[in-house]
Every structure is written in structure tokens, then in C-alpha cells.
């Protein structure tokens, strides 16, 4: 198993390097159309002297590999540059908001786990029933829904209309307020963020469980006299869950990546909202910094999920054969 973990880590390294190269290409001069100075200052007009100063300061006139080395060095030290508009280090700005994004992503995963697994299991057990058709169809629909629109719909329904109709309603903006604690504020954004993934999770759970139920060892379990429930739960689920758990883990990474839309809609003060505001201001250092932070987080999460897979599947944990 140590071998498995080591291999996974090693595999990640070239990808990591590739990612940094790719990100570097995006901001480096000469490779892509666009002015790298703009990436630092935003799109205001600046004097030529200032322009030259910036070129000097950031070494934009040095050879590519030197710039890359410098970039990598900055990255390792946690220096993502400075927001020209705000005058603060990008790292500071982003990391202060980071916990909020993480909270939201975790809440969304919990929602997804609950509903996705339940829906998937039920539709697998009651195959071809009304419920199954409903789940299958609604997953197709959910996949096609623009996440941000879904959020807006929820806002209108639960935030505005419910209030109008005198029903208990939910907050639709921000992380906390006088009326509601964070735990309530997080509901709508979490459901929104989870929506598309829940559809996938249900689908995967369903197909995994169906596949597992068709396996021979399920028949063996039945042949031992176990009741249907015990067979499904004790034998079926344990096998079917492995890929599902892996999927959920990877999804956590994807969620962290997708928060930008949800945070924008709900004014949730995380990295995504910062990036959105920065786009409006053309404050590119924040935008690019946000991208870097999120990408790295996703990679780390993926790696952890990969490693956890080893713990879940005994075939990987105990790989060697006994004579």
C-alpha cells in the first residue's frame, strides 16, 4: 500500500509541474496575445514610465525560463502577486476568504451525499418503477440546468415568494445576518452548488449498485439464506460504495472549483465572490491568483481521494497473493 501511495504522489508531480507551466503560459508575455503588464495593473491607462517600471520590477524583459523560475519561486513561497487596485497581497485577500468557500463546499457535499446516494439506491432497488424513471429523468434535467439560474430560482421561491406568502422563508444573500445564523444562510447556496453533482452521484450510485447486484457473490449471499435487505446492504452496498465515495471525493474538488458561480449569486463571501468582483474591476492578479489557489486545492483533494481509495478497497490494500 505504501507503494500505491508513493506511486500516486509521484504521478501527481509531473501534472503539478504541467499545471504551473500552463498557468505561467497564460500570463507570460509573447506566448499568448495580451499584455502581461495589464495582467498586473488592470486595464487602466498608465504612463510609459510606470509601464517600464513594472516591466523592470517583475522581470518581464528577462528570458522565459528565468521568468518561469521566478514564478515558481514566488509560488512556492506563497506569493501570488499584489492586487494593484487594493494594494494588498493577493494571498492575504484570498486566504481570508478561503474558509468560507470550504464551508460551502463541504455543506454541498453533505447534501449531495445524502440525496444522491438515497436517490440512487432507491432507483436501483425499484428498477423501472415510477421512482426510477423520475430519478433518471430528473438527473438528465439537472445536468442541463445552469447552476446559477437554479440558484436564482431558489432565491425567488424560498426567499421572496415564501416571504410574500407568509411562509417560513430562507435568506438569500450573505453568510450571516441579524435574522439568521450561518447554518441557515448556507442552505440555499449549498443546495444550489450540490444540484448538478447530486444528479451525477445518483446516477453513479444507481449504476454501480445495479452492476454489483448482478455479480455472482450476491447470488452466493442469497444462497446462504440472507434476507434481501441484508444482501443489499451487507454485500451490495459495500462494493458499490467504493466508486461512489471516490466520486464524491473528486466532486469536492470540483465543487471548490465551481463555487464562483454560486457565491456570486448568493453573495457568499468566499474566493469565488472575490474573483467575480475582481473581474468586474479588471483586477487580474486576484482573478489569476484565485485560479491558482483553487486549482492547487483541487489537485491536493484529488490526491487524497486517490490515496483513500487504497484504504477502502482491500484488493489494493492487500495486493499480494498467498500461495
Amino acid at each position: 500500500m505504501i507503494g500505491y501511495i508513493a506511486r500516486r504522489v509521484l504521478q501527481m508531480i509531473p501534472v503539478f509541474i504541467g499545471v504551473t507551466i500552463l498557468l505561467f503560459i497564460l500570463r507570460a508575455p509573447g506566448i499568448l496575445p495580451g499584455d502581461p503588464v495589464k495582467m498586473i495593473t488592470g486595464e487602466r491607462a498608465i504612463s510609459q514610465t510606470l509601464y517600464d517600471q513594472i516591466v523592470e520590477k517583475h522581470g518581464l524583459n528577462k528570458p522565459i525560463y528565468v521568468q518561469y523560475g521566478r514564478y515558481l519561486g514566488d509560488l512556492v513561497q506563497g506569493d501570488l502577486g499584489e492586487s494593484y487596485q487594493k494594494g494588498r497581497a493577493v494571498t492575504d485577500i484570498l486566504f481570508s476568504k478561503f474558509p468560507n468557500t470550504l464551508k460551502l463546499a463541504l455543506a454541498a457535499i453533505i447534501v449531495e451525499m445524502f440525496f444522491g446516494i438515497a436517490a440512487g439506491v432507491i432507483s436501483a432497488i425499484k428498477r423501472y418503477s415510477f421512482w426510477d424513471v423520475l430519478v433518471t429523468f430528473s438527473t438528465s434535467v439537472l445536468v442541463s440546468v445552469p447552476v446559477f439560474w437554479f440558484g436564482m430560482l431558489l432565491q425567488i421561491l424560498f426567499g421572496i415568494k415564501f416571504k410574500e406568502w407568509g411562509l417560513p422563508y430562507l435568506p438569500i444573500s450573505g453568510m450571516s445576518s441579524a435574522e439568521f445564523p450561518t447554518s441557515v444562510h448556507i442552505l440555499l447556496p449549498a443546495v444550489t452548488l450540490a444540484s448538478v453533482s447530486t444528479a451525477y452521484a445518483a446516477r453513479i450510485m444507481r449504476s454501480q449498485l445495479l452492476e454489483v447486484m448482478g455479480q455472482d457473490y450476491i447470488r452466493t449471499a442469497a444462497a446462504k439464506g440472507l434476507s434481501a435487505g441484508r444482501v443489499i446492504w451487507g454485500h451490495g452496498m459495500k462494493n458499490a460504495m467504493i466508486p461512489v465515495v471516490t466520486f464524491l471525493g473528486l466532486d469536492l474538488g470540483a465543487m471548490v472549483g465551481g463555487t464562483i458561480l454560486t457565491e456570486t449569486v448568493f453573495n457568499w463571501p468566499g474566493i469565488g465572490l472575490e474573483m467575480f468582483l475582481a473581474i468586474g474591476q479588471r483586477d487580474w492578479p486576484i482573478v489569476m491568483g484565485g485560479v491558482i489557489v483553487i486549482v492547487l486545492m483541487v489537485m491536493v483533494i484529488n490526491l487524497l481521494v486517490d490515496i483513500s481509495y487504497a484504504f477502502l478497497d482491500p484488493r489494493i490494500r492487500y495486493g499480494r497473493k498467498v500461495a
Binding site: 455479480q215 455472482d216 457473490y217 447470488r219 452466493t220 449471499a221 442469497a222 444462497a223 446462504k224 439464506g225 440472507l226 434476507s227 454485500h235 459495500k238 462494493n239 467504493i242 478497497d313 482491500p314 484488493r315 492487500y318 499480494r320 497473493k321 498467498v322 500461495a323
Partner: protein, 345 residues
């Protein structure tokens, strides 16, 4: 005293979108304690479905018992409640399957899987069941059973896995052990070991065994009675020696002929049975075997031959089974075991 197991004219059909698959279309036999029944036939002959029906493991849609009955110690298995059936499964009637790799749950330890029926049927505690499981592993010939019980299936070799399956089936001391092609997925050398093990167990426990296989050679030593199946029907049933040396059905002759012979140097041709097994949705009219039968007569394509007791305890469903001249054709013909070889055509 009612027989231990009695299958009475069983018809089990599958209702699919493409038509009705008559997987089992008229099978009858009885089984007594301590005896071994060999069920022989090609793929698709209905042997496995028969076994699964005894265990009621056939998914009820699309399968359905159209007629007939299965009785265990006189009591009808088919009319039992679900709960009662489950009390039999793994407890009084146990089954081992063809491929031990896929038949064992990859994420449970071997010991746990063997202990499971004990905990379920005998209400043992986890510790007791585990100890019993280790003991069972030792009994089926797995060395260092204490440690091996903690392994997962993928850590075992093929033969060991099959032994583990046998241990699992034997856990509750069943009256009947059904072995569905237990050696097909194994190496030849291991096959013999497994069969020996099964025989040994039978001597020890007096349980009855139903041994299902497509290979007549496998049942040669072990079976007391043999049931030959074709196209979902029982075509011949009798005492093992009778079937081997005095068979009364052309299909069985075909099976006997197609056994490769190891004892003669002569490089004679292999004699497979011509043609393919029939589709169970659209069986040939009359005798299902007639398109492939070398001895078919006109009546064979129009009339379904009934399973008839031709001699004492020896049943056959061939129109001409009772005709000694007809039967003699086979003895005189080619590669019959014990008969003259087709040296001069």
C-alpha cells in the same frame, strides 16, 4: 418415509420480451441421504436452473414455476413462505458455484464470509462463528487456517477459493449440497483434489450431493445416480453404472462417444455430437434432440417422447428405448466406451 428431495415434473419458464424460454421443461428425480446424483448436460440444458429452482434463487420475474413441485423431506419448497425458504438456504440445502473468484465477495474477509451462515442460522456470536469458520477451513484442507481466515478472496489461489466456498456451504451441516460445475473453472490437477474433498466430506457427514456438470468424466466415480438433461428436459435417469454401460438414449450415447479416450493409443478421431444445442425459446418439434440424432426416425420429429421407466429404475425419453435392436446399434457403433473402436469404419 418421504425421500430427502423430490423434484416432481418441474417446469420453470422465463417470460422475456423475446418469448418464453423453457429453461426447465419436465424434470423429475429423487434423492436420498448419503447418495450422490450427477446431473449431466450441455450448456443451456437447464441443469443449473433446476438447481437454482431447488434453492428458489431464480428471480421470479421473469422466471416462474409453471407447473410441478419440489419437495424437501416431504414438504413443498415452492409453497413455503419466503422466510421459511430462507431458513433452508445455506442451512439445510447449500450450494457452491462454478467460479469461486466471482462468487466470493471481494471486500469481506474469507473468515467472515464463512461465519456468516453460522451467525444467521445458528445464532452464534461473532467470536464463536469465527472460531468455527477457522475450524471449517482446516477441515477443507487449508493450511494455517487461523491466518488464512483473515485473508481476502483475491489473496487465495483458485483451488483454495473453491475450498473456502465448500467450507462456507458446509458450515451449517446441510442435508443436501448442490455443486454447480464446481471444477470447471479450475486447473485439471486441482479438479481431482476438489472432487476428492467433496467425496470425503460426504463420507463424513452423510449429506446428499447433487453434482452438476457437463463432463461425464467428472461424475464417473462419484455418482450413484445420473440424470441426463437436454433442452430443458430430463432425457435419461438411472443408476450410474447403467448409464455408462447400458445407456438407453442416443444423446447419452453422444456424450459417451465424445469423451476423449486416454487409454487407447490409437489416434482415432474425436467424435463430438453434431450440431448445436437448441434455442430454449423455439425448441424443435417432437423430440428436442432429433435434429442431431444419428438414429432419428420420422416419428421423432412429430411426437414428443415421454420419460418412461424402460427398465427397473432406468428412465429414458426416447421412442425406441425399449427396443433392444435399436439399443444394440449403439453398442456396435464406433467409439463407445468398452466397445470396439471404429478402426475400419
Amino acid at each position: 418415509m418421504p425421500p430427502l428431495l423430490e423434484v416432481d415434473d418441474l417446469h420453470m419458464h422465463f417470460f422475456t420480451r423475446d418469448g418464453v424460454v423453457k429453461a426447465v421443461d419436465g424434470v423429475s428425480f429423487t434423492l436420498e441421504s448419503g447418495k450422490t446424483l450427477g446431473v449431466v448436460g450441455e450448456s443451456g440444458s437447464g441443469k443449473s436452473v433446476t438447481a437454482l429452482s431447488i434453492m428458489r434463487l431464480v428471480p421470479e420475474p421473469p422466471g416462474k414455476v409453471v407447473s410441478g413441485d419440489i419437495r424437501f423431506k416431504g414438504e413443498s419448497v415452492l409453497s413455503m413462505s419466503d422466510k421459511d425458504q430462507r431458513k433452508l438456504r445455506g442451512n439445510r440445502i447449500a450450494m457452491i458455484f462454478q467460479d469461486p473468484m466471482t462468487s466470493l465477495n471481494p471486500v469481506h474477509r474469507i473468515g467472515k464470509q464463512i461465519a456468516e451462515p453460522l451467525r444467521l442460522h445458528k445464532n452464534m456470536s461473532r467470536k464463536e462463528a469465527w472460531a468455527a469458520a477457522v475450524e471449517l477451513l482446516a477441515q477443507v484442507g487449508i493450511p494455517q487456517a487461523e491466518e488464512r481466515a483473515r485473508n481476502y478472496p483475491h489473496e487465495f489461489s483458485g483451488g483454495m477459493r473453491q475450498r473456502a466456498m465448500i467450507a462456507m456451504a458446509l458450515a451449517c451441516g446441510p442435508d443436501i449440497l448442490i455443486a454447480d460445475e464446481p471444477t470447471t473453472a479450475l486447473d485439471v490437477t486441482i479438479q481431482a483434489q476438489i472432487l476428492e474433498l467433496v467425496q470425503e466430506i460426504q463420507q463424513r457427514t452423510e449429506s446428499a450431493i447433487i453434482l452438476i456438470t457437463h463432463d461425464l468424466g467428472v461424475v464417473a466415480d462419484m455418482a450413484d445416480h445420473i440424470l441426463v438433461m437436454y433442452g430443458g428436459k430430463a432425457v435419461e435417469f438411472g443408476v450410474a453404472d447403467e448409464i455408462f454401460y447400458h445407456s438407453l438414449h442416443p444423446y447419452t450415447w453422444g456424450l459417451l462417444e465424445s469423451l476423449p479416450r486416454h487409454d487407447v493409443d490409437d489416434k482415432g478421431a474425436l467424435c463430438p455430437i453434431k450440431g448445436q444445442p437448441p434455442s430454449l425459446i423455439s425448441l424443435p418439434p417432437g423430440c428436442s434432440f432429433h435434429p442431431r440424432c444419428a438414429y432419428a426416425q420420422p416419428i421423432c420429429s412429430t411426437e414428443v417422447p415421454p420419460l418412461v421407466e424402460v427398465e427397473r429404475g432406468h428412465y429414458s425419453s426416447c421412442h425406441f428405448a425399449g427396443d433392444p435392436d435399436f439399443v444394440a446399434q449403439f453398442v456396435a457403433h464406433s467409439c463407445y466406451v468398452g466397445g470396439p473402436r471404429e478402426a475400419d469404419g
